[in-house]
């Protein structure tokens, strides 16, 4: 009978294999099968952790290689005109994220102040993060996922906006403690 540790080891390695590239899955399954021959449960967990790392590295290397190959195959696209178009789409993504942020800050902050009294708001000061960070970042994430397939450059611009906002908030919190 399998212990909880061994079951976890099998599940962990199995999950990593399922999420990895097809070429890495054979190696992953090879390591997964070896788990049946390891006596100690903790040793099997160590084996699974090492195996998961090896599969992930192998899979990432394949992804990186195919990405580089794809870039080389499509290097004709990197003309001045195309780069200009890409940059314009990227900038539009950044502009959209800035607009969404402004709407969120003005709109939601007004709504909150209308609904909640100033005294209550003092106790619930964390609500201030909603229009500044939580809501915009959530919208950015949804928008980027929705646009990723068909308007990737614009989605990248939105992601850039989201990252910039996140970094800004972190720096602000760190410096105003």
């Amino acid at each position: 009978m399998s212990s909880a540790v061994r079951k976890f080891a099998v599940r962990l390695l199995g999950a990593v294999i399922r999420g990895s590239q097809l070429e890495s899955q054979g190696w992953g399954n090879a390591m997964l099968r070896e788990l049946d021959f390891i006596d100690s449960d903790w040793a099997s967990l160590g084996w699974a952790l090492g195996g998961a790392t090896a599969v992930l590295k192998h899979s990432l290397a394949i992804t990186a290689r195919s990405w580089v190959r794809e870039q080389i195959d499509h290097r004709g696209e990197w003309t001045l005109k195309n780069v200009g178009k890409k940059l314009a789409r990227l900038a539009s993504g950044v502009a959209i994220s800035a607009g969404l942020l402004a709407v969120s800050i003005v709109g939601v902050a007004r709504l909150l102040s209308a609904v909640i009294s100033a005294r209550t708001f003092e106790h619930l000061h964390w609500l201030g993060w909603l229009p500044i960070l939580v809501i915009p970042e959530g919208i950015f994430a949804i928008a980027a996922i929705a646009l990723w397939r068909n308007r990737r450059d614009m989605a990248r611009g939105i992601v850039l906006g989201a990252v910039a906002l996140g970094v800004h908030v972190i720096v602000h919190v760190m410096t105003h403690k």
């Binding site: 090879a30 390591m31 070896e34 090492g50």
Partner: protein
């Protein structure tokens, strides 16, 4: 011509383990026990050796209803490569790389 392979002490250990019985197929866990290498170190080495056609792999189905088990063996060029790079000292325990890498 074998594509460039980083000959770390661990790679030499694995090659040495295969040289003990060059014609036999080996299981991953057995190689791990022979070399004291963890799966996270051993399998990337096996993957690199297989990529460079120095290692051949096979699936063995022994028990019905159970998934097959992966087996490994050096290819003819792998055997030549291992013999070129792995030698033992007089005591037969230390693995040396003829080109200078040392375990």
């Amino acid at each position: 011509m074998v594509p460039r392979l980083r000959l770390s002490p661990q790679t030499l250990q694995v090659l040495d383990a295969f040289l003990e019985a060059p014609k036999d197929w080996k299981y991953g866990y057995d190689i791990s026990r022979d070399t004291d290498l963890k799966s996270g170190t051993l399998y990337p080495i096996l993957m690199r050796l297989a990529d460079r056609k120095l290692l051949e792999t096979s699936w063995e189905t022994t028990e019905p209803g159970k998934p097959p088990r992966h087996l490994y063996r050096l290819t003819a060029s792998g055997l030549r490569f291992a013999r070129e790079h792995v030698v033992h000292d007089v005591a037969g325990s230390r693995v040396l790389d003829l080109r200078g890498a040392k375990s």
